[in-house]
Amino acid sequence: MASKPNYARIGDQVFRDVEKINAELFTLTYGAIVAQLLKDFEDVEEVNNQLEKMGYNIGLRLIEEFLARSNVPRCSDFKDTAEVISKVGFKMFLGINATVTNWDPKKPEFSLVLEENPLIDFVEVPEQYQSLVYSNILCGVIRGALEMVQMSVECRFVRDVLKGDDASELKVTLKAMLEEEVPVGED
């Protein structure tokens, strides 16, 4: 049986090789986008949905770059997927380390804990927007990306630094494995 590749090393290497940009431009751009959404939609819950949807659209495309650059082989199981997302995915795009915790094989689901998050630098959520899930775009990205590799998941924040917790935590649950689309006319 082939030994599992060292995902952390792959993640570091890919991040080292990719072109990079000032993180603060990224942070400020995201902030401006959230501000724009709050202006476009009255309801905070609707903004949360929009952020997730935008993340989903990003995820559909991001997965291609991920596969092309990281060259990781197909994941053997959902737990493997968790490791790849945390060590390679988050590292190569955001330059941060994420940890996999609370692995539950029955559902199956896992949690991703983020100690740092470039989206939320300088950010404080005022009282009237308390139910805003500021980084909800990340949930959408994971959902979109995994759907393109035949996994239907549900992803949501269960802990949020902007709400007072010591770290941010996303819970990812596998709902179903998707079948590859059969072309019209074939069996």
């Binding site: 940009i21 431009l25 401006a32 501000a35």
Partner: protein, 223 residues
Amino acid sequence: MNSHLSVAQSAMKNSGSYSSLEQLAAKASFSEKRPQKPLPILSRPIPKGKSEVSLSAFSFLFSEFIQYSLAKVNNITELEKRLSDCGYNIGVRMLELITYREKNYKRETKLINMLTFISYTVWRILFSKQADLLEKSTDQDDEYMISENQSLPITKFISTPREYSGLNCASFVAGIVEGILDAAEFGARVSAHSMPLEGQKQMKTVILIKFNPDVIARSNLTA
């Protein structure tokens, strides 16, 4: 000499929706117990600004914002305005950050120094390189141009199809420049244009800055 407001104070002044001095009541929404309220933003140290993310992450985010905006507008001009407005807010904040970090609160008062600040320092921070060319327009007294011989790093993936011809996504960068100039009291109208490079097929991006009359008048007085 006037010194800049501190970053945090200015952030409070300028932002609409995402900074507040008021107490953040940690209402339990999805966690059973909230041990403490989040540290208020003014108590947090300002990061060093050396961290980076992949250009792809930014490109995807920017790309999605463009697609989202496309659905909300009726024509190219409106889309460019949205991008420019988005950039404007960023520019205002960037000026505070960069001035605090790089120049120890010193404020530019001369027009040409301000332009050099943008094409050298700001460009270096945003795009890891200085602008290819900064020049004054030969026929207009109030116009200056910052040019990039190739498309900017954040727009190089975008090739506009025929139905969107005339769209320039560098309007976002134009917005950033406009925000910076406005916040530094050098009001101007800034726009982005694509022109073919002399004698070549390649397009260069030009950020055109047209200063307000009072800025030019002031500049001529102090020259």
